[in-house]
Symmetry: C2
Subunit: 378 residues, 2 copies
Amino acid sequence: MDLHAGRAGARTQMALASLQLIRSRRVGAVTYHRLLAEHGSAGAALAALPDIARAAGLTDYHPCPVEVARHEMSQARLAGATLLIHGQAGYPVALSDLPDAPPVLWAKGDLSLLTRPMVAMVGARNASSLGLRMARRLAEGLGAAGQVVVSGLARGIDAEAHRAAMETGTIAVMAGGLDVPYPDEHAGLAAEIAAHGCLVSEHPMGLQPQTRHFPQRNRIISGLSRAVVVVEAATRSGSLITARNALDQGREVMAVPGHPFDARAAGCNQLLRDGAILVRGPQDVLEALGIEAVPSPQTAPEPEAPALPAQQPAPRPLRETAGIHSLILARLGPSPLAEDQLLRDLALPPATLSPALITLELEGRIQRQAGGLLSRLD
Amino acid sequence: MDLHAGRAGARTQMALASLQLIRSRRVGAVTYHRLLAEHGSAGAALAALPDIARAAGLTDYHPCPVEVARHEMSQARLAGATLLIHGQAGYPVALSDLPDAPPVLWAKGDLSLLTRPMVAMVGARNASSLGLRMARRLAEGLGAAGQVVVSGLARGIDAEAHRAAMETGTIAVMAGGLDVPYPDEHAGLAAEIAAHGCLVSEHPMGLQPQTRHFPQRNRIISGLSRAVVVVEAATRSGSLITARNALDQGREVMAVPGHPFDARAAGCNQLLRDGAILVRGPQDVLEALGIEAVPSPQTAPEPEAPALPAQQPAPRPLRETAGIHSLILARLGPSPLAEDQLLRDLALPPATLSPALITLELEGRIQRQAGGLLSRLD
């Protein structure tokens, strides 16, 4: 056995021990991390497990046998999946910080996507056509700006987001095994993502997803991402749970508003009332994340909602603008004052004063006279 | 001349002086208030005006002649209007605090409405049918809760709000004279408001409204009101200017969201991004103002967006809920803990803990066992 084979053998041993530990009864992600912290390695934790169980009063406790872990690994290899272990190279950085980070992840496809910045998009399965259009526009715009779009392969918003980001990068986090797409009808979409994007799951091949797996899966969707954008969601929907967990995880939560008479917007409007960032298009997401948008045909504003030209400064928040207007109006009276003098009096940069004066003039609240003189109309 | 006639005569003199002063050239609302503060009364200010003008270098300055004020008063009497003078009984209290409060107001109709709490509703003239339905629902709900609905008699949202609040109380603030309804086609609506509600204007009868009068009028709409609700508004619309001025005046600004693809919601969504309160129905407005809603058929929730029953506590803000969930999850592990113990450990009221546990259970993040034991699933 040469050194290389020895190293590979040690890696396999460690991987098997990690799998055995997390697949052992009563060991969840949080317990796994605590055991590893206490015992230094998965192997040592595994060896200590029977004693720990006995001390806790559990009789007849057996850790997961190595054969089970070997089987999981060989099945995954047959399916072309790669094992990513928490704390090892290749494991997604953002996810690894969570207290309940999945100890192991199976990934299939373009693994480099997991090293890029990601934004999650979630929303209703029974999305409206407006919701689907918005999902497409957001995914295209985020993709064009270099963001990988993460979602859950569900019907509606999820599927639309994956499809729109297929060329620029998308990750589907599955609730069951990588070879068990849910819903069935998305088997083709899952195959396409495996070919162009990346599929991810914390479960062994063949696992049929059950109800409880979906919220667990959702913590990975948000955990991978800097932000979760809720595109369309009713009240009491899974997307709202994902949004709440995302806050727990310190992620940005963003939501697309809708008319209050549209029940499919009720969840998003609730999130907005509770402080989520309002999203009208990809630019709002990128701005909130401090990312420069890459102009592209897809992200060009639709004619019905023209954006300001790029060279114009970003609009100021309402309260700030109102404050500037108050300052100006308080300074001006019916007797004309020179604009230069106003600038000195207020100690404001010309770039701030000038648009405010134009607005006030258009509103008919001030009047410009010859010689750069300003007066207040009231 | 008896004492009563003497008093009435003094009141008329004061009213004439107030009218003369505000109708004098170069005297706007702010100047009027400054002159009154400096000279003690409208009559004294009026007497000082020629000297002030001379000192300011104005030659050939003449204050408004008393005949003009007399004419304004007699025309208004013929039209059945009442003069309200700033600082005198009957003048609306909220409005009187503004630095540019109208020195005089002509009012026609039920003057008692001006002493009740008011909420302004503004929005697009070319409103959508959704926008009109929302205006109706808000005005009915606000009216049922005792709020007087203030608006500007314009087409679209304004007219719908006035009509829906006709029985409970509505005030139209006009941009021109009380006898010059704008638009023409709302002459009938104006007559109906004069009969059931109240018409208000700061201008003399017969004044044809010009462009500059509308923003001036809007300051009265928001100035009368505790809050301004923008129902539907495009970007760069007059409603947004009203909303900004309302902030200047220290009023609450609220907006109804809409889908970003709907250009008629763009102004409202912009306001929401800038910090306006999101409004889904009358309940949200009343809650923000700290007012108990009066249940009525009109304010009953529509089936598509069911509200929580009244006896249920108000939903907690998302971040707060997320914080409680984190506390609970941090406290729980795979080993069962008694709920009583958890309650003591967290020092939370049962009314707070209990719904949080139910949510976490439904999300599959914790498990209840026999004997009130809880454990974390992860």
